[in-house]
Point group: C2
Chain length 324, copies 2
Amino acid sequence: MHIGIVGAGAWGTALAAIAAKNNHDVLMWAVEPSVVADINNNHKNDEYLSGAVLPPTVRASSVLSHVVTNRLVINAIPTQHIRSVWQNVHPVERGSILVNVSKGIEVGTHLRVSELFAALNVGFEFVVLSGPSHAEEVVQFMPTTVVCAGNDQATVVVQEIFSHPTFRVYTSSDVVGVEICGALKNVVAIAAGVVDGLGLGDNTKAALITRGLREISKLGVALGANTSTFYGLAGLGDLYVTCSSKHSRNRAVGERIGKGESLNSIIASMHAVAEGVPTTTAALELASVVGVELPITQKMFDIMQGADARSAINSLMMRPKRTE
Amino acid sequence: MHIGIVGAGAWGTALAAIAAKNNHDVLMWAVEPSVVADINNNHKNDEYLSGAVLPPTVRASSVLSHVVTNRLVINAIPTQHIRSVWQNVHPVERGSILVNVSKGIEVGTHLRVSELFAALNVGFEFVVLSGPSHAEEVVQFMPTTVVCAGNDQATVVVQEIFSHPTFRVYTSSDVVGVEICGALKNVVAIAAGVVDGLGLGDNTKAALITRGLREISKLGVALGANTSTFYGLAGLGDLYVTCSSKHSRNRAVGERIGKGESLNSIIASMHAVAEGVPTTTAALELASVVGVELPITQKMFDIMQGADARSAINSLMMRPKRTE
């Protein structure tokens, strides 16, 4: 099959490598001419995923219309850029599949990515793919499992295309649950990073992660998701990896905040996007619409606005005595 | 209140420090005269928890009957030793509380610790205390949360005695759930360690932990536990800390197995007990009685018997395509 990938960041590049390994032709869209040239001429993407070796069947283009006219298109650009990039895109064929791998909620509209694509009226069948899958490990073919959610027919196609001995794809019908997990886990990862940056221990971090997953599931269930999704790969699995891994950008942002750096200075110094930052704002917008409280997300918002990180974490940990 | 602690390992010592901080008198039981002397003369326990500073209100004795005759007694000795140590113990007063902090299932009888104490007919009110709480961090007063399960009256007493600004105690009525979490998380931690030892990544470990928590909850629910316990502090929280922390003995055992060392040589070299090793056997006994399959636990048993670790982990990761 011919596959288009919109975005040539780390995760888009890793998925290109997996699809190519499974004998599919891949065309990636990148804005930067240097990235397009690196992929086409050197079969690598040192800018975003050094270490990945791409076969010649992975090519790149800076012409969006060449990429989005494939039968299966992956969206792998930051969530806050989706609207501007995709606003004039339509599929060539009815039944073309769009696989979104970007995580987050649009600020201002507080739309999940599936809702955003519906609002943009792109006309693709929508599938979301998520799970504990650092790109750096996927391209080293370390055993990885993910979940893709959407309608039965589309998810089975996605499962067929990407399944590989070291890359297992499970299917699900819970789009809302998988999307809320993917968006909110980055906020909890920032909180876990703050705990690291403050020099607090694993006990504190474990408590925060446990409370964090409850908070994520509370919001998701209020939006119609299944509880079990939150304790599966897209929920617990991805939260674990994002909160503990050295590869996680969101955790790293939190760690620098915990060490006393301002959010503005951190963002100014970063190459790739830490999706948890805009999603913190968007999640609070969404939670206020559905009437759910998100104490950890609220504290992360406060910290990003300059509140003291140590008192914020202490106030999250030290609430009145009660039953669990 | 006067508190007895049976066992002077790391966790018993940390709980002594917390209780003493809350102005309770503590008497610890230790077999080794050197440990008794270190606590009484130097107010520390370098053998098991170097770094802990104990006030003079924490004392030690090698006479078990002096320790178990307190109104509240903590059991903090390895699960496989409980029967031999406790077989002739009875409380002095009706309503005395026994707080168990040892994790595991007795090999041969496959009794949980609450069932074991019931079988020994000790006559105490039973409470189990568990959660993400590495002793090393508790004595540094890093924010820590735990859960204690038992009847309402007893758990409120335990909550009062141990609650401290950096040590939060939640109550629960799900003794079975908290016990199964505490026992089986050590088995999953060994598996997580094997992943580390084999040099596999966070993606693999996250998948295994997610699958592991499902496996633990399946066994627990079959025994009458509440699902929510598995996603709380005693379940997810403690599993997170045990699988990711540098302090975890069970994870360390798995790591050495993954690197090719034999279980016998690892055990011979260890000072403290890795409870997950006997619990692997006991959990399989229990699961076969209730008719529940434990794939990860079974593979850990096989590996401990000499099966190849890499193929065992690969076979756990790479099962047929399916829905999650």
